[in-house]
C-alpha cells in the first residue's frame, strides 16, 4: 500500500517527507534554544513553564491535561520548578481544594529569553529563504493544519516555544 502510482501517492510521500524534515529542523532549533539559554532545566520542566506562560495560571489538573501527562507527574514537576524558583503554587480562595500554578517573575523571564533566542534563530532561517517561497509556505501550511483539524489556534508567542506534544 505504500506504492501505487496514481496522482496521489508520490505527492503525499513528498509532502510527508518535506514536512517532517522541516519539523525536525524546528524541533532542533527549540532544543538548541533551551540548551543555549536555560542551563540547568530539563525539557519537560521547560515545557511546563511554557504552558503556564501561554495560558496563564492553571490548576493542576488542567495543566496536566494540557501537557498530556498524569496529574502526579505534574505535581512533582511543579515541585521541582517551585524549588528552583520558576513557578509558584497559589491557593484559590474560592475553592480550597484546588490550587493554581503560575510563573514567578524569574520563570517568565526564563521563558522569554528562550523564546527570543528561538525566534531569532527561526528568523535567520526564514531570511535565508528565497522571498518568493515565503508566502507559499504560510498559505500551504495553514491549509495543511486546517485539514488536520487543528485545535484552537492560540496565537501567543510562547506557544511556539516548544513543539513537543503540545
Amino acid at each position: 500500500m505504500t506504492e501505487e502510482a496514481p496522482p496521489g501517492g508520490d505527492e503525499v510521500d513528498a509532502i510527508t517527507e518535506s514536512v517532517l524534515t522541516a519539523s525536525r529542523l524546528l524541533v532542533g532549533v527549540s532544543a538548541k534554544s533551551v540548551a543555549a539559554v536555560a542551563g540547568p532545566i530539563t525539557l519537560p520542566q521547560f515545557r511546563l513553564l511554557v504552558a503556564l506562560g501561554s495560558r496563564g495560571p492553571l490548576k493542576l489538573v488542567s495543566l496536566a491535561e494540557l501537557l498530556g501527562v498524569n496529574p502526579s507527574t505534574a505535581t512533582r514537576t511543579v515541585d521541582r520548578l517551585v524549588t528552583a524558583g520558576w513557578a509558584e503554587r497559589n491557593s484559590n480562595p474560592q475553592s480550597r481544594r484546588e490550587i493554581t500554578v503560575g510563573l514567578t517573575p524569574q520563570g517568565r523571564e526564563l521563558v522569554d529569553r528562550v523564546t527570543d533566542y528561538r525566534r531569532r534563530e527561526i528568523a535567520s532561517i526564514v531570511q535565508r529563504m528565497p522571498a518568493e517561497r515565503r508566502e507559499g509556505l504560510v498559505a500551504a501550511l495553514q491549509a495543511f493544519s486546517e485539514a488536520g483539524a487543528e485545535p484552537p489556534p492560540r496565537t501567543s508567542p510562547y506557544d511556539a516555544a516548544l513543539t513537543q506534544w503540545d
Copy 2:
C-alpha cells in the same frame, strides 16, 4: 502582530506560527500512531528502533550519537529492547570490542506497522488539502529546510516515523 504589511518581522512571525502549528499536528500524529499500534513500548525505545530501521545495524556508540544520548543510556535501552525481542546484539567478528545492534524480525514488523499507520494518517490530511496548495507546500518547505542547513536528507520511509529530536 499577526497582521502582515511590513516586509520583515511580521512575516517571520506568521511563518513561525504556521510551521509550528503544523509541526505540532504532525508530532501528535506520530505519538498517536505509536500508541495505536505498538502497545507497551515507550517513545525513546521506539525512536531507537526507528533509527535502526532507517540506518540498518549500528554499533552502540554510533547509535547513541545518532539519537543524541549518552552511550550508557543507549546500552540500557537496548537491553530492554533485546529483552522484549525487538532488537538484537551481534558481535562483530572483525573487532571483538564492538558490537552491532539490529532489529529482529519482530522489531522490523513493529516499526513497519507504526509507519504504515502514520503514513495513512498523514495522507488523509493531505488529501483534505486543496490540491493547488500542495505543490506550494513541498517547494516552500524544501526551501525552508535548505535554508536551515539540514543534515543529510535521508530519504528512508522510516525516517519519517518519529520526529522527536532526530
